[in-house]
C-alpha cells in the first residue's frame, strides 16, 4: 500500500516535470466543474449525509438533551411498528389506484376531445378540463374537504336532493382513501389529459385517415397507432405521476391527516407526522430514507422494464 502510494507520487513528480501546459489542461476541466460540484454538494449530497446522520440518532425537538447516537435502532423500530406496514400498503393502494384512474380517464378525455376537435366550443372545453392543475394542491384539498363535509358539504347536499344516502366521504374509513384519490384524480387527470392530447395533435391527420381506410377499429387505433406514437411521452408522464403519487401527502394531510384511524395513513404521511407532529426527527429521517429507497427502487425497475422495450434511451424515429 505504502509502496504503491510512493510510486504514485513519483509518477506525479515525473508528470509535473513534463510540461506546465499539460497540468493546466488537466486543471481546467476540474475548475470548470467545481461550481457545479459545490452546488451538488451543498444542495444534494450535504442534506443527504445530514439525513443519514439524523436517522442514526434519537432526537426529539422538544428535548433539550442533545441527540443520542442509536445506530440502526430507528430503522428497527420503524420496521416492527404496525403503522409502518399499514402505511406501506396504503401508499401502494393510493398510488396504483390513482395512477390507473388518472391514466384511463386522461386518455379517454383526450381521445374524446381530439375526436370532437372540430366542433365549435372545444377550445373552451379544453381550457375547462385543464383548470384543476392551476389550483394549488393544498387549496384543492381544502376545497374538497369542504365539499365532502357530510352535513354541510355541497356533495351530500346534492345527494340529499336526489334522495341518495349521504356517505361520510372523509369520515368513513372504508371510503376516505378513495375520496382522497378522487381529489388527486380530479387535480391530476388534466395533466395526463393535456400531454396525451398534445401527443394526439402531433399525430398527422393523414395517419388516422390511413388507419381508417385500413379498417382499424377505434380501440386498435389507440393501441396500434396513438400509443406507439407517443409511448415515450407516456412513459415520462407515468413516471412523473408515479413519483408524485408515491410521495403525495399534502392532499392527505389537508383532508384527513391519515385518518380516520389509519384509513388514509400513507408512508409520506407517516414521515410528516413523525417529523412535524411528534418532532421525532431521527425516526422521521429513517422513515424518509426508507421512502426514498422504495421510490427509487420502483422507479428504477420501471425504467429498466421500459427501456428493455426500446422506449427510453435508444432512438427510434
Amino acid at each position: 500500500m505504502r509502496l504503491r502510494r510512493r510510486r504514485a507520487t513519483e509518477l506525479a513528480a515525473v508528470g509535473s516535470g513534463q510540461s506546465r501546459v499539460y497540468r493546466g489542461e488537466r486543471l481546467a476541466p476540474a475548475l470548470m466543474l467545481a461550481p457545479s460540484v459545490v452546488i451538488l454538494l451543498a444542495l444534494v449530497i450535504g442534506p443527504f449525509v445530514f439525513l443519514i446522520d439524523t436517522a442514526l440518532h434519537r432526537q426529539n425537538l422538544f428535548q433539550t438533551t442533545p441527540p443520542r447516537y442509536v445506530g440502526a435502532d430507528n430503522f428497527y423500530y420503524l420496521f416492527i411498528s404496525t403503522k409502518f406496514q399499514v402505511a406501506l400498503v396504503r401508499m401502494l393502494v393510493f398510488a396504483v389506484t390513482a395512477l390507473a384512474a388518472e391514466f384511463v380517464l386522461g386518455f379517454v378525455l383526450a381521445a374524446w376531445v381530439h375526436r370532437l376537435r372540430d366542433l365549435p366550443g372545444m377550445a373552451i372545453v379544453r381550457t375547462l378540463l385543464t383548470t384543476p392543475i392551476l389550483v394549488a394542491p393544498i387549496v384543492a384539498a381544502v376545497m374538497w374537504r369542504f365539499m365532502y363535509q357530510p352535513d354541510f358539504g355541497v356533495i351530500n347536499y346534492i345527494l340529499g336532493l336526489v334522495g341518495i344516502p349521504k356517505p361520510g366521504w372523509l369520515s368513513d374509513p372504508d371510503i376516505a382513501l378513495f375520496a382522497i384519490i378522487a381529489i388527486d384524480v380530479w387535480q391530476w387527470t388534466p395533466f395526463v389529459f393535456l400531454i396525451v392530447l398534445a401527443g394526439m395533435y402531433a399525430i398527422p391527420r393523414s395517419l388516422y385517415e390511413a388507419a381508417k381506410l385500413d379498417g382499424t377499429s377505434p380501440w386498435r387505433q389507440i393501441t396500434h397507432l396513438t400509443i406507439p406514437w407517443f409511448k415515450r411521452v407516456l412513459v415520462i408522464v407515468l413516471l412523473l405521476r408515479l413519483i408524485d403519487l408515491l410521495r403525495a401527502f399534502e392532499v392527505i394531510v389537508a383532508t384527513t391527516q391519515g385518518g380516520p384511524g389509519d384509513a388514509s395513513y400513507t408512508l409520506p404521511v407517516l414521515v410528516w407526522e413523525t417529523a412535524f407532529v411528534n418532532f421525532q426527527m431521527g425516526d422521521a429521517a429513517a422513515a424518509s430514507l426508507v421512502l426514498l429507497v422504495i421510490v427509487t427502487i420502483v422507479i428504477t425497475l420501471l425504467i429498466r422494464a421500459i427501456s428493455r422495450q426500446g422506449v427510453v434511451g435508444q432512438g427510434r424515429r
Partner: protein, 370 residues
Amino acid sequence: MSEIVGVTLQGVSKTYAGGNVAALNTIDLEIRAGAFFSILGPSGCGKTTLLRIIAGFEYPSAGRVFIGERDVTALSPRERDIAMVFQDYALYPHMTAAQNMTFNLRNRRVPKAEIARRLAETASILGIEPLLHKRPALLSGGERQRVALGRAMIRKPQIFLMDEPLSNLDLKLREQMRIELSRLHQALGVTVVFVTHDQAEAMTLSSELAVLRGGTLQQMGPPDRVYARPANIFVARFIGSPSMNLLRASVRGGRLVMESEGTALPVPADARLQEGEALLIGVRPHDLKVGRKGEGGLAVKVALTEHLGRHNFVVCHPVGGTACLHEQDAIQFETEASVRYPVGTELELSAAPDALRLFTPSGERRDEAP
C-alpha cells in the same frame, strides 16, 4: 379480387363549416371502371376536397357519391373499399414496411399464410423485397412512395385514390414513378383517381381527366381531346405548355380580322360565323408559322428566343393591329432549333384554319355554340 368498378358523382357540392365560399360546386363526374382518372386544377380549386369526398373523409353538403352501383354518400371510409395514397404517404412510423403494408389485412384478420403470400406478391410487383424489414424513417422518398403504394395495393381495393403522390419527389424520380404508376395501372387494371396540379403528369398518365377551377368542373374527357378542344379559355391556357395564345378578333368579310385593319387570319372551315361577330382566337405555339410579308397575318416583333434543344420558342410582342386577350400578354410560337430571329425582327405569323380555336368574348368555346 374485387370486381372493378367506377365512381359517379352527382351534383356534389361542399361548403366547409366556417368557409363562406363553396369548395365544390355541383360537380357531376363519371369515372369509368378501370380508368386512370386525373383531377387537375390550380391550387385551392378543390381537388383534395373532391378526393376526400370520394374517400369518405368529408361528406358532401349536397349531391350523391356512387362507387359502382352502390350509393356510398353516407358510408364511412372503412365501408367504401377504397385505398388511398397520401401526399405525405402517411406510413405508420413505428411499423416496418411489411407491417405497414399488412396492417389492413391484420385488422381484418386475414389468415397469416394469406398475408404472407400477398405481401410477397405485392413486394415483388413493386420491387421492394429488400425494404420490407425497414421502418419508414430509414427509407428514401421513392421507397416510401412504393411502400405506400404497396399498402394500398395489397388490399386489392375497388378504387385507388392518390392525392398528388408524386409532388414530394424530385424531377427524375417523378418521371420514373410516373412510368411505374402507368405500368401498375395497366397490370392491375383498377380504377385510379389521381389528383395533381401538374398538367403534364395528368396528360401522360390519364385515360381521362377533369379540370377544376374554383370548385367548378370546367371540362372532362380524354387528355388529347381536352387538349385539342378546350371547353373554355381557362382550360385552353391551363393545359399545354407553353400556353395557348389568345387574340382578340372579329369576323369581317370571311376573315378573322384583328382589332385594326391589315392583320387577319383565315376562318376555320366548319365555323358558322356571323359577320361582325367579336371573338377570341386561340392558337397553340406550335401551330403558328412565319408567313411571307404582305400576305396578311399577325404582325409581331421578336422579343426573345428560348432555346430548348430540339426546337425554340420565340416570344413576340404584337404590333400593328394584332391584340392579345390581355395587353401584357406575349405571343409565342415554335420554330426549328436552327431558325433564329434577331431581337426586333418584325414578322407576320399565320396558322392553318384548323389550328384555330374560337371562343366567345366571355371565354366559352365558340365552335360548338348553337
